[in-house]
Subunit: 414 residues, 2 copies
């Protein structure tokens, strides 16, 4: 039997002051029953759930990491209806608030989830990311304005998982370490030709050219990112060796010694994996090798619907076997190496969140309160997902199946 | 148009003297047509094919690595009928011989194969390796007598892929390096409990106890191997920390900090993967981690039928995704690391073949000429398969999906 009852009126009052949207009516038996049902889905989490009038459950928590407060009945009922979607929707709107540590609360909830998310038949099927849809999806997220991303990313604007040689390394150093790791895994040699699928603000392409002496063609459909990258490449005098092409990965042409794609495969979508594999196959020389770095899963599962709706339309983090079956196997590629860096993504997100929080007012000013809350939740939820093992970060290295131009051991990677 | 004609009578005569079973009739048009068809399946290989009377194709090879000689019509027709099976059968029987370098010929043939092996519907389905069948399969191969394996394995009798820090390392040192690599990937700490599924002659179990201070329970259904391992463990005074259990992996009980299986999964068979995964899940502590080392493929394909018939009944080298789908995913295990060591297996087999060739007379005396030829072919064919990328050697490391007792980087493995 759960302890239930009212939290101190001061706490309840504080909750009510967070937005103007206060429900003045007292909660009824139905409200309380729904609240207890919701709490039951994460029964072992040290998290308290409260209603607008202070009714809360469970009261007998030694040290709750946070209290989730429903500000009105509509928010409460929306969770009963579809918590996967409406947790995000109500938090973003401010009709649900979290008093306490948002990140710790999300980690606790991830750990306590008693049932797997509903994998309904067909829920893995998504609208196809055609060339047009892919461009729109990318625009939704990556064209929010370079000024926005500059607020909280590192100097080089690397918006993918970093690699922390030690946990106390700075974000700046960890992004450089990640780029070095990728280049060493690819065993880049001066004068080689590299194609990059999805190049963000161009940091890796420029790094490869500058530090490893290769030439790079980088494909990206985000107009804002390409414009930014082109300006930087000119500033740095690398324009003869780095070309940013504003085009889809499906239109990659030419022959290259290495194929690299960092944080892009999760936007491709399962249905387009054969196309992605064909691009790799078309572009790699006989002795070529490739590296894919992507957010994945231990087993196939759909991405959270709120994230798909508000943050990453068209995204799907795959299980390794889905990548092998649909991307590498059809072309006889051989998997040489897989590394799971999920704790590094949790650490990366910890840095991003801290910087984002420092600049919350600026983010609010650039967009609005809802946007700022949505992005806080997305970053905190992502950190919790990587920290608890709900999401993975895989780096895979491959070569053609009949190529013996493969490393003898890992030692050269260091 | 291929050059065809007769090879010098001295070559033909030499071929004919290899066995007593000489066909004295001259070849006819049909024989030559069949020969050319067979040659056409590996048209780009620098390999010559000859009939019993010296007729050969192609004659215009700058430097053939070998000539494959059919001693009689029955052998020739058996290849047309089923070359996958009858290459091995006729070579073993001596009705086909290879003049030149057997290993180089096999590599050339693997590289030149113009069509993929026939994956007939259902060809991936095999008789189930029930507890009884598994024991019989293991008995067929591993109970040939410890004296036989002592002829050509390393001192510690390690009959799995070694790890050569440098290519010129000795086999003995490379087997020790492999065991160290496995222990470091598992991050074994003194006092921990390890369970091993399939333990061969016990080398790894004893090594882990002696060098890493762990206690080991090792399961194996080969009576000869277990008897040998128990004698060694007593000699070395390790009996208090290493227990060899003559039982099936399905009967593993108890809780362990690490699960390790080296060169065993390829004998389990797809249909039993769920059982294998259950054994892992049952035995691993919450913070536990596991390592599987197995022969695999880039994509699902049946094992050569001759190898299954004569060498490894019940064996199946899986694609990575088959292991993930049926072994690790159902229990929420997370893949932390994959390494492909196929070139190390080619090097290991090079050592084994050289030693086996040195002791060919002893092998013949222990068994017979057919056995010695069959094993020469199996070892040479395996080396060719790993060298050309037709087979892979995977080491995968996993942990429970919600465990954060995972390595921060690979550096500690070295």
């Amino acid at each position: 039997m759960l302890m239930e009852g009212y939290v101190s009126t001061s706490v309840a009052a504080r909750h009510q002051t967070l937005t103007g949207d206060v429900a003045l009516t007292a909660s009824n038996r139905f409200d309380r029953w729904v609240l207890k049902r919701i709490q039951g889905t994460v029964a072992t989490a040290p998290v308290r759930f409260a209603l607008w009038d202070g009714f809360a459950v469970p009261l007998d928590l030694a040290s709750p990491v946070a209290t989730i407060v429903f500000k009105n009945r509509r928010a409460l009922v929306s969770w009963a209806w579809d918590s996967e979607l409406n947790f995000g929707e109500t938090y973003m709107a401010g009709t649900v608030d979290v008093c306490g540590d948002l990140g710790a609360m999300l980690e606790a909830v991830y750990r306590a989830w008693t049932k797997k998310p509903n994998i309904r038949p067909g829920s893995l099927r998504q609208p196809r990311n055609t060339v047009g849809a892919a461009r729109a999806n990318v625009h939704h997220h990556y064209d929010l304005g370079n000024e926005f991303y500059r607020l909280w990313l590192d100097r080089e604007m690397v918006y993918t998982c970093a690699y922390f040689p030690t946990a106390d390394c700075t974000l700046e150093a960890a992004q450089v370490a990640k780029m070095n790791l990728v280049c060493r895994k690819l065993r880049l040699k001066p004068g080689e030709r590299v194609v990059e699928a999805g190049s963000g603000w161009g940091a890796l392409a420029m790094f490869m050219a500058q530090k490893y002496g290769v030439s790079v063609r980088a494909f990206n459909v985000s107009a804002e990112q390409v414009a930014y990258a082109r300006a930087r490449v000119k500033e740095r005098g690398l324009a003869d060796r780095v070309e940013f092409v504003e085009d889809d990965y499906r239109n990659i042409r030419g022959e290259y010694d290495a194929f690299v794609s960092i944080g892009m495969l999760e936007h491709v979508g399962l249905a387009e994996y054969p196309q992605f594999g064909k691009s790799m196959d078309r572009s790699l020389a006989r002795h070529g090798r490739g590296l894919l770095h992507f957010i994945g899963r231990n087993e196939p599962a759909p991405l959270n619907r709120w994230i798909r709706k508000r943050i990453f339309p068209g995204a799907y983090p795959p299980a390794l076997r889905e990548v092998f079956e649909h991307v590498t196997e059809p072309h006889g590629f051989s998997i040489l190496d897989v590394e799971n860096l999920r704790l590094h993504y949790a650490k990366t997100l910890e840095h991003w969140r801290a910087r984002f929080a420092q600049h919350a007012d600026e983010a609010r000013a650039m967009f609005d309160e809802h946007f700022q809350r949505a992005w806080s939740l997305y970053l905190a939820g992502s950190q919790a997902a990587f920290a608890t093992g709900s999401m993975q970060l895989f780096q895979i290295v491959f070569a053609r199946g009949d190529s013996n131009a493969i490393p003898w051991t890992r030692r050269s990677v260091g």
